[in-house]
Subunit: 709 residues, 2 copies
């Protein structure tokens, strides 16, 4: 691997600056875990007050070690950090892990130190991990800089912005016998960012699943781009906090992370194929399933149990989590029926009540049929499996063990995932152990079983879509002329484009607009109206009048010549009440849009994610129901398609109550062109096309507002 | 207690009809569990083929036992059930538990037997439990008719429509050391219904919490009424399946239960103060919390942890589950700060990172401050508590145990609930055991901790509201004249009331309507329009024309005399195309409603719940967004209030974008009156007031449709 972070995780020598022997201290725990963890390279312990530490020579300064230092871990007081970083760079360090807390997260003084440190490292070509982080673990080099007990090696990687969460996840891993490939505590992430770690792990062959815990997002736009690519290969599971006000508060006080609008986060993750989870135990369960189970081809699940109650609960869970529980074809039902009591349902869910309790062999026989059945993508066993020996009779225990082994073999043979919900999941029975050890997901929560299958299925289906998605392209845009207009607006000291200018920009980006004319006299207004055809809308054009309606600057639905003349006079008079005549450009004469579905397309720049495009239906859909969708720019064809379809009001575009479908293609085209405009012109801060009236054929942009700066 | 079900749970003698000794058979398991369970009364084993069973005398028939039989349990083939019931009744049985399956749930033959059995029992004054049930357990009489191992006695009661679920719940109880007061397997519930069991358990002093698993709902209206009363005393927690199509399918095939619309179920449960859960483990956790913890006074929770990560996750969970995480007053923060490292957040969530890890004493000191703080209603400890001895150092273990005991004492002293999330929850540590055994809820799931606190808080707040709620009353309704109109419509063989008749009914129920006149000639139409004032709406009135609009029977916004005359002719002409002149009553002349917010109020009769009232905003809110609320009739003032406020479009009624609030009082009044109409006239099948235009003052019922039959 040639990734710039490779040396950080595979150093040939490590210096611990601020090494200590005082039991329980951060430096002591990390020094100990590195030495005892089996790391093979050179270890240099730096502490000016000690000659010997951990029965090894200690050096007064990293400058004294006399050999190249690949990685430095710094655990000294904040004010000594810059010097430690400078010296590490001098010794050739490619990575510098700063454990020290009390920097950027506590205020301006800390931020200054961070900036200084970053400058030194950048100039020296070293990567900064942290500060305020708890260290790294790399299984391939047995490098444990986390100060925690030895960690089993395995396929899961963790990137986390909280030491606690790392401790929890390693505890879950230990309890479930799972191993880890890499652990990264990012801390304040002033140097290496989330997306760079993801990029590195995507190339790391030891890592099958990437788990992340995030408080704040830095360089969200890059995160989306990298994750979108990686998600076609490996699952990225993220626990992002700050869904609530109190959660944002807690995250902010923890790593000084800025809050991001959660709706934007959700959109970004969706777009990037990231699996968003909400709890640590959930994250671990999901990661374990991805690491151990084959991926299902689709969302169809077959449910089997010895009881109607558990089957009903499981079926509800499955559908609530977006899985399908299809009725099995009669051919499959026929094959299953011999294993059931007469009259018991074989259609899915399948109820083997009264048979398998005494011989659980029935379970693997039914599972074998389901493994062969093309309509079934995954299998969900629910009920008491493992506990029949307690509930029914002791001799059933041995039969249950055989069934467990048979289920394991079936999964291997057919490469279809199988999960087991049973209230006996955590009992120390051999039947359970066989499943656990062979990677079958066994859980005491029926809901969690459904949830995990759902994540597997959605990832699988979405992965194929992501693979086929490509960035949208536009043609027929005029970047130079647009830039020229923007330059002039800027020169004039304005942040708001006039509607006439905004219309020009849209036209330069290939967005069709209804014909409109700027009238400076009554006669011009009447002439324009004749040209356009009535009824018309009239709107004041003035850089000083932004809220046109409030200023009496809009009149609608005008037909007669006399009406138009009067309206012109009235609008001009109203305008003169709020600004000087010289600041009034005239009145825009535009046709009234024919009826159709009101929509909004907008673009804003988000501090975390950069340019974001918004789509929604107009009016109450936005204002009362917040029924809008977002996507980070640049967009793929998949993004454009799904952002329109995911709004709740979509049926109004697709056509209901006998109405024909609206021209969704033209809406997609406008979204694409506005996104291109945002990419081409970073000086455009905001675009608001509101409303756009979508017709059966075409769409009318009725009002356009563009802000720069 | 004087409840009619008391004898069923406290019988002095029990006969088992169909007793058996064949190991593992349903009859054998139940005979054994009764004999070994410690039941003190007489036990009569009935089996015509055996003289001795379980070393006791067996009787050929229940008629032979020579003593009064209080309770009979029947485990014979379906065709023998009626005779067994008849004989039990003859022997004085007050309760008959029918284990036998293969009756109503399998088809018409079984339903016939059920009807026969029910008749015999009703005439004999006996209560039927089941059939297709798995038995009963009553702790106070040590009566175990479930065929499962001995059950610890305690405060939880279970009513369930699935034997599996009972087995799961008793397994959870065993694992968590909790006890049960009563277990009821309802089976097909042909005799005693859910609400009767609830009624009984509400009076049972041994029962603190009622848990129910339901597949189908029978007599839902009575369930709501009983539960609404009981919920002011004891929590009722229900797991109702059938949220999804597959879940309905599974439930239907299990107990032959009809599916109920899940939106209606949710509304009914909400109205009755029922706590709805979705999984068995969740139900058990929630029940355990209710049984063991004091109720919080409100929704404010304080969160404490040794890490920002866990705090952020917990805060998100709390708010997602409807709890508040208030910033603590500075007085409380001052008291907490000495226990934290400098600069750590004390505002809530509280982060004691770096202190308590080495001395968890800090945790109970902070908890003590929170217990005294009036703004805090409950406490949520999240992180590693219990595991510090593993993560930090072994000697911390003893300190953790002391902290556990201190926390237990605090809860007892202050009567504020406290829950603990820790990944060490299920480890066999003494610190955990002290919490578990003293009823503190300890869970490895942060989400579940929040969920349980949320259920406690919502129950507590809602209980007070339920206590103060009273059934709404109407005055000024004319039941007799309404009945007379309905009688005439029925006599005429019609199911649809004419709009004129529907208007009459509404008027008789005190609902104000815009003035309107039935015109039979052009001149009458013009005269009516003058009387009303233009613009007017004109609508055909004919029993044969139900879809007036489709038949060209509606014209709107008419002003001029000529327009009105032409419209009258056109409407009549259109009507004559689809029906005979003799079937045309004329044209209704009504004013056009002034602008306002479109609403719908409807009433339908639900097979499970009886009359149900619906409220929503019109048009797309109903058709696209399904944004409607339901309540079962009769209504309380609380129901009327919440059903309006809970719709997503409520801001449109409350007033947004500078619009004034609409007349919500008049909408409430109409809801109340329509509900009264549904109670007074069971022959009214459906009412549809659509649209009603709500104005700032008053509301216009624009169209009214009433169906009978």
């Amino acid at each position: 691997m040639n990734h710039p972070l490779f040396p950080v995780f595979h150093p040939e020598s490590i210096a611990i600056i601020g090494a200590s022997e005082v039991p329980g201290k951060a430096a002591e725990r990390r020094t100990r875990s590195l030495i005892r963890g089996g790391y093979n390279g050179d270890i240099f312990l730096i502490n000016p007050k000690r000659d010997i530490l951990f029965e090894r020579k200690a050096y007064p300064s990293v400058l004294d070690v006399g050999k190249k230092v690949d990685l430095a871990m710094i655990v000294v007081a904040p004010r000594f950090v810059p010097q430690a970083v400078a010296e590490s760079v001098k010794m050739g360090a490619k990575g510098i892990v700063i454990i020290t807390a009390g920097l950027g997260e506590t205020g301006e003084d800390g931020k200054k130190i961070e900036a200084e440190v970053l400058k030194i490292a950048d100039e020296g070509g070293a990567k900064i991990i942290g500060p305020n982080c708890s260290g790294l673990f790399s299984a391939s080099t047995s490098m444990n800089l986390l100060g925690i007990p030895p960690i089993k090696k395995g396929p899961l990687a963790i990137i986390a912005q909280s030491g606690n969460i790392i401790d929890s996840l390693t505890h879950y891993a230990e309890m479930r016998g799972m191993g880890l490939s890499t652990i990264i505590s990012v801390g304040n992430a002033i140097g290496v960012k989330f997306h760079e770690y993801i990029e590195y792990l995507s190339q790391d062959d030891d890592t099958k699943v990437i788990m992340m815990y995030m408080e704040g997002i830095k360089e969200g736009s890059r995160l989306v781009q990298v994750a979108r690519r990686v998600s076609t290969k490996k699952p990225i599971i993220i626990l992002k906090v700050g869904r609530s006000k109190a959660g944002m508060r807690a995250a902010a006080s923890h790593t000084g992370s800025l809050a991001a609008d959660d709706a934007i986060v959700n959109a970004a993750f969706k777009q990037a194929g990231i699996i968003r989870v909400f709890n640590v135990d959930e994250m671990f369960d999901v990661a374990m399933c991805f690491a151990n189970l084959p991926l299902p081809k689709g969302k169809n699940v077959a449910i089997i149990s010895e009881g109607g109650g558990d089957n009903s609960v499981a079926a509800d869970n499955a559908e609530v989590y977006g899985l399908e529980v299809p009725v099995l074809p009669s051919s499959a039902q026929e094959k299953i029926r011999p294993f059931l009591l007469a009259g018991m349902p074989a259609g899915n869910p399948i109820d083997y009540g009264g048979t398998a309790e005494e011989n659980p062999d029935m379970i693997n026989k039914i599972a074998a049929v389901l493994m062969e059945e093309p309509v079934v993508d995954s299998i969900y066993i629910t009920g008491f499996f493992g506990g029949f020996k307690e509930i029914i009779a002791p001799h059933v225990g041995e039969l249950e063990e055989k069934t467990s082994q048979a289920l394991v073999d079936l999964v291997k043979q057919h490469q279809k995932p199988l999960v087991v919900h049973t209230s006996f999941a955590n009992e120390p029975f051999r039947s359970m152990k066989i499943l656990h050890e062979n990677g079958i997901f066994v859980t005491p929560s029926s809901e969690r079983a459904a949830q995990c299958l759902s994540y597997l299925s959605h990832f699988s289906v979405n992965r194929d879509k992501l693979k086929n998605a490509s960035l949208v392209k536009t043609n027929g845009v005029n970047v130079d002329m647009t830039r020229e207009i923007l330059r002039k607006v800027k020169e004039a000291g304005r942040a708001n484009l006039l509607e006439t200018e905004a219309r020009e920009l849209l036209a330069l980006y290939g967005i069709k607009l209804p014909r409109a004319f700027l009238a400076t006299t009554k006669d011009e207004a009447v002439k324009a109206a004749k040209e356009i055809g009535s009824p018309i809308a009239m709107k004041i054009v003035s850089p000083e009048i932004i809220h046109k309606s409030d200023a009496g600057g809009i009149m609608l639905n005008l037909k007669e010549e006399r009406e138009i003349q009067e309206a012109f006079e009235k609008i001009m008079k109203n305008a003169e009440k709020v600004t000087a005549s010289s600041k009034i450009m005239g009145v825009l004469i535009a046709p009234m849009a024919p009826r159709g579905q009101e929509c909004i397309i907008g673009m804003v720049r988000n501090p975390q994610f950069g340019p974001v495009i918004m789509f929604g239906l107009g009016g109450i859909f936005v204002e009362v129901l917040k029924d809008v969708s977002f996507r980070m720019i640049p967009l793929t064809d998949l993004d454009v398609d799904t952002m329109i379809k995911e709004i709740k009001g979509y049926p109004l575009l697709a056509g209901i109550r006998g109405e024909k479908q609206k021209d969704i293609a033209v809406l997609k085209d406008i979204i694409t062109r506005i996104s291109q405009m945002a990419v081409d012109h970073p000086e455009i801060r905001e675009v608001d096309l509101n409303p756009i009236i979508a017709h059966e054929k075409g769409a009318s942009v009725v009002d356009a507002r563009i802000l720069i700066g």
